[in-house]
Symmetry: C2
Subunit: 469 residues, 2 copies
């Protein structure tokens, strides 16, 4: 897919005509062209990702308005970059020069919550936490919980196939998307999937859109599967004298047939960063802190079994939370990890390599070697139960040499992940950040078929050009 | 996708040349051309589905041999119909005239079972029950359990995205396929997905292949997710004076936040058919028998709660099984349903309409009206917890008028399912049987995009032509 070049020769005139055409189907307040304003829509939260200057930002409120935007874009051959809350970490929502930024945040209605069918029907701009709370009032549970859940949108979650802390038991966003309404590149509306529990009528286009980073169509409505709300989870913290011992505990827990609702790891760098930021009083002498939780009917009994496995793996200390409040404090510490690591040197590159959990120890040892080699601080927090690590390179962006080393170490970590049978991205996506690496992971035949699908849906290459491949 | 016409003018000569080319990369015993033998590979188990006469049946044992078959097919422009155990119910595995039937049953090795990573790596010809038993020896569980599980293959399960009795708690085959090796139409090998718990590197091609009925490529290896083996399930049987009351119980159970491992319905026709066939002593006075099961740590407690909900919905009798043996008998009765209904009049058409479970009562009432209108016996068994009904039209295939009415009633049931917000197929697939109905369900835009994907993967239209659309 060659990158679409936006018209450049007569920028102002072109933008003017684009704006005029957009205004034939959108109210004035939904079409932003003030450069100071539109510039603020240029980036998501990824480091080291190029972003262009949008020509226009549109904020539609209806499906018809989205269709209008895509029809105008097709007519004028203008690229369109769909956006949610821009909390992504791969540059997938970054603007292209001269593009229309299509922000879905104003389409934020929860259209239906059905406790018998266990589904919710939502617009893409609904914030994850807002949905979670709304379904909770019906005794229901929408599991996917990315760290940004208080601000990120369901549309963004679908676009990047987001994960979170819940995945070890409940899986990722993809597993909760039953059906979609999608506006195609040419403005036509297509429905995929179903609102039933099962369905196999034709190719699974729903799943194809999940994780497609806005490159195949614009999701304007989603039917989401819900689960019954489980009991509150109880958390245990186990300290280890080495990351490898903690990883060994993870393997023993999973091999033992346990189904924790959370199984997270924070290394010493991360623990210290969280303490520095939030004075949480986490144990700083530990090399690795493992958090395990159960949301079963007798979580204390499950934690006792898992605590024993941690001790067998060499845990120096095992502390089960006494109650929900203590559990929540431990979760807060984990959720603060990335923010805390960012405070270490001002900038971070957050990697997202997922390896088979049996290789997690090798991965963590390898990351330590990379940190030494490049003389960098790399903190690791991980969804350990999934083998999904977030090695986070902390660096001073004002220091060119350190920045170069950060980028190189980041790449070396991905190479290590592939070597261990893993993937370059467990849940953050490819975006701009990992384009070259996608090709390395899936190989030339896979890449060719990915591009063929892109061409089938978006022959003019207007939808989020320059992302993925 | 226009149907590929196989060379017809000089059938014998063409088949001879095809056979010779195949034999350059396959041993003689893997290439069958005796018409009596090849004819036995013409059909799966669906009624009313056209099947052609294969030119050759090949039984490869290696990935390289499958690649060879596809290269020859591409070179000679011969259609290829992939097959597993041919237990499918939609004609998806039916031969085309002059095709190569590519049977994967000899590729039946379980390559790996990994209890830490909770995965199995298998060839496509592995029988579902063989995998289930093998992983069971490691304390692991492969949930998908179609009725044909003792004979059907994992490759066939992937091709049709099979379900089973477990889905209400554990979901369908699609949710257990992490990665695939696929031989493309031109013989190239492509890997999709991963062996990690999570991964979002590019479009989800794995999921695209699941349920694609062999029309996009040949699955030659699969990485499957496993779960820890749950405790043995305990089953309860509840009798109702009307199907609607049983459906009301299903809604109350699901609305109440329960997570049964099985929630099945058999109507009076089905119960009687099972008794007639197997003398199981099921209660024949009931209009609907509901089976609920739990595989939790205290299933009796869960069954007590669900039994009370059944009584509140009007159950005339609620009988929990006392032990595993009684539970297994009830499951056997349910598993015999389709076979038993086939014995009623000699032939059946088994439908597979799935509706939102809140509409299950409307669906069953509607099916009864259809049976009356066409003066037919239509037995219904259903994965009630999923809203997935199998209305089974019993008829005498030697009676042309009854056969016509059977086909018309079958279509009317699908129309009813769509009207109630459902899908024409919950787990059996589209194949030949429901081609026209796929178009009605997904509409012209959806159909166009499905065809575009088919063309992207199989530009010559060689893979299982004439299926799906």
């Amino acid at each position: 897919m060659s990158r679409i070049e936006a018209p450049r020769d007569e920028d102002t005139e072109t933008t003017g005509s684009l704006r005029d055409r957009l205004l034939t189907g959108l109210p004035a307040e939904a079409v932003l062209t003030d450069p100071d304003v539109t510039a603020s829509y240029a980036n998501d939260m990824a480091s080291f990702c190029d972003a262009g200057t949008p020509a226009v930002v549109v904020l539609p409120r209806t499906v018809e308005q989205v269709q209008h935007v895509m029809r105008v874009a097709t007519e004028l051959r203008v690229p369109v970059v769909p956006q949610g809350a821009r909390t992504g970490l791969s540059g997938a929502a970054n603007a292209s020069d001269g593009c229309v930024v299509l922000s879905l945040v104003k389409m934020d209605r929860i259209l239906e919550i059905n406790p018998v069918d266990r589904i919710a029907v939502v617009e893409p701009g609904v914030v994850n936490a807002a949905l979670s709370r709304a379904v909770g009032e019906h005794g229901l549970y929408y599991p996917p919980d990315p760290s940004s859940w208080e601000t990120c949108t369901i549309g963004g979650n679908i676009g990047t196939a987001s994960g979170g802390l819940c995945c070890v038991k409940y899986g990722v966003t993809a597993e909760y998307v039953l059906g979609l309404d999608v506006v195609l590149a040419d403005g036509r509306l297509m429905s995929t999937g179903r609102r039933t529990a099962k369905g196999v009528a034709g190719y699974d286009l729903t799943r194809l859109f999940v994780g497609s980073e806005g490159s195949l169509g614009i999701v304007v409505r989603a039917v989401l599967a819900l689960k019954p709300q489980p009991p509150a989870q109880l958390v245990l913290a186990a300290e280890f004298a080495s990351a490898r011992a903690a990883c060994d505990a993870v393997c023993r827990i999973m091999e033992g047939g346990h189904v924790p609702s959370l199984l997270e790891l924070m290394d010493r760098t991360t623990v210290k960063a969280v303490n520095d930021l939030a004075h949480m009083g986490l144990p700083e002498t530990t090399e690795a802190l493992l958090l395990a939780a159960f949301d079963t009917h007798d979580p204390a009994a499950d934690l006792a079994l898992v605590g024993a496995l941690c001790e067998a793996a060499g845990a120096t200390q095992v502390v089960p939370a006494e109650d929900a409040a203590e559990s929540e404090l431990l979760l807060q510490a984990r959720r603060l990890s990335l923010t805390a690591l960012e405070a270490v040197k001002g900038t971070t590159m957050i990697d997202d390599v997922c390896v088979p959990r049996s290789r997690l120890g090798d991965m963590l040892d390898g990351i330590e070697r990379v940190a030494e080699k490049y003389a960098l601080t790399i903190g690791v927090c991980a969804h350990a139960g999934d083998g999904n690590t977030h090695p986070t390179v902390c660096f001073d962006a004002a220091d060119p040499d350190e920045s170069r080393r950060a980028r190189e170490s980041f790449d070396e970590i991905m190479a290590l992940g592939l070597e261990l049978g893993g993937t370059i991205t467990g849940e953050h996506g490819v975006g701009v950040l990992k384009k070259e690496w996608l090709a390395r992971e899936i190989g030339p035949v896979g890449l060719e078929m990915q591009r063929a699908i892109k061409t089938a849906f978006d022959p003019l290459g207007l939808l989020n050009p320059g992302k993925l491949f």
